[in-house]
Symmetry: C2
Subunit: 277 residues, 2 copies
């Protein structure tokens, strides 16, 4: 019988986000195995590499099973130390760098590379600006600089506008404002005054009335705000508004914020300042 538990290590000389992301995609198709994950980021000295090697060895002794190691270590010396174990090692950079070098006819430069963080100062600053802009323009708090937004998310209350905007800012460096549509505006199927003239930047979110009712019910039980009739009315009016004004929109009921963000970028062609991890 296949073992039900397996220890997994993520080794990185930096934050570990890349290696964790890819390793988790590889492990997901094995839902019956209980993976014990250990992230070992910032392995950037020989001492830390030796420490990682000992952790891997101890885990092997303790469990009696060779751990699985995923690695994005760049330095060959550090990498070699971590491999002095009997673990099964998946080394992403080592596997793919040689064929890439051959195809590009260029040698990889492994020193002073900062894929992450502050490596590309302009992109990084753009992303921090986007986060600050998005927080300052959450829920229509500040309408003065809306014209500087890359996108303005609109929709009824609790349709996931805020987390979607935050994700657009953090992952893609997009200045994403969001603006509520009040009941009064919905009644008359009109945009709030602050948004008139900004229609090309608008993106609508909608959601299944039953789902929104459930969310609202948790927040304000048995209120008119949480009644199914009210939710149905608001959603219907919002969707009509989007259609009348040719505003692109998505239904959020079965989509995560990652999916929403990627689909919004695909639908609008909005340009992004990628987070390079």
């Amino acid at each position: 019988m296949a073992p039900r538990t397996r220890t997994v290590f993520f080794l990185s000389d930096h934050t570990g986000i890349s290696v964790e992301t890819l390793a988790n995609a590889l492990l997901a198709p094995f839902p019956t195995v209980n993976f014990q994950r250990h992230s070992l980021p910032f392995i950037d000295t020989i001492a830390k590499a030796e420490e990682a090697r000992e952790l891997i060895r101890s885990s092997h002794e303790l469990t009696g099973l060779a751990p699985i190691v995923f690695s994005t270590l760049m330095d060959p010396v550090i990498r070699a130390i971590t491999k002095q174990t009997d673990a099964l090692c998946f080394d992403f950079l080592e596997t793919f760098t040689a064929p890439l070098e051959k195809s590009l006819a260029v040698k990889a430069v492994h020193e002073d590379i900062k894929v992450h963080g502050l490596g590309k100062p302009n992109d990084y600053d753009d992303r921090i600006d986007a986060i600050n802009f998005t927080l300052a323009h959450d829920d229509g708090v500040d309408a003065r600089h809306l014209a500087e937004a890359d996108i303005i998310m609109i929709g009824v209350s609790r349709a996931a506008k805020t987390p979607t905007c935050v994700f657009l800012a953090v992952q893609y460096g997009i200045r994403a404002a969001n603006f509520p549509i009040t009941e009064d505006d919905l009644e008359h199927r009109r945009l709030p005054d602050s948004l008139k003239g900004l229609i090309p930047k608008l993106f609508g979110l909608t959601i299944d009335p039953g789902r929104i009712q459930q969310i609202r019910q948790e927040r304000r039980p048995d209120s008119r705000y949480a009644s199914l009739a009210q939710c149905q009315f608001e959603v219907r009016q919002a969707e009509n508004l989007y259609k009348n004004l040719n505003i692109p929109f998505l239904e959020t009921t079965h989509l995560s914020i990652e999916e929403l963000a990627a689909k919004i970028i695909q639908m609008t062609g909005i340009s992004r300042h990628n987070r390079l991890l």
Copy 2:
């Protein structure tokens, strides 16, 4: 001479975040090559796979150079269609899945897998809750539920508290509040009243006084707030406060928010609800 420009495609049946993350890590050591990146997410039908194949072929014809394709497509039929080109293809899942299956003695299940988004409802809800909590507890706005925070970031104004908290919430599902320390509190090297009793949750940020002066100068030119003397005083007092109370802290001057977040998790051992992309 090696070509200076190369077209790169990122193929995914989902958001494309995994494939972009790893591909960018692989491409970073080639800074002299200008990569033209094209992301093709949500390739989940045969028609979309054929469309991707045609885009890759056209790019080849147009540039006269075989494009480089990075892929995390799961479905074997869809994957095969996208490979009907002369591009150099790096297929992450295909490369590593077979040795993983062997080591685990379990077959990979490629249907109905949702690594992303809503696949693990509890983790996903925790992350959305964390984002909402973090936004509601930015800059000391709401001190009532601070005890529910996983971590409370403190520091002088403009030390990157807000974007670091937002990143902790989005990437790791951590409920990260942040709280400003006023000049008056700094003067007396004391914590704001709302934070007394919460010392085990506190984490300090500090920053080079010259750098903070530069940031503040852009916001309020030639103010006392932006004077070097004031910045030096605030930073010194904040660091003394952290040391006196044994509050762990980091200097943010040369660290990105990704690096800060990963180091904070490493230093505090705080548990996380990973974003699985």
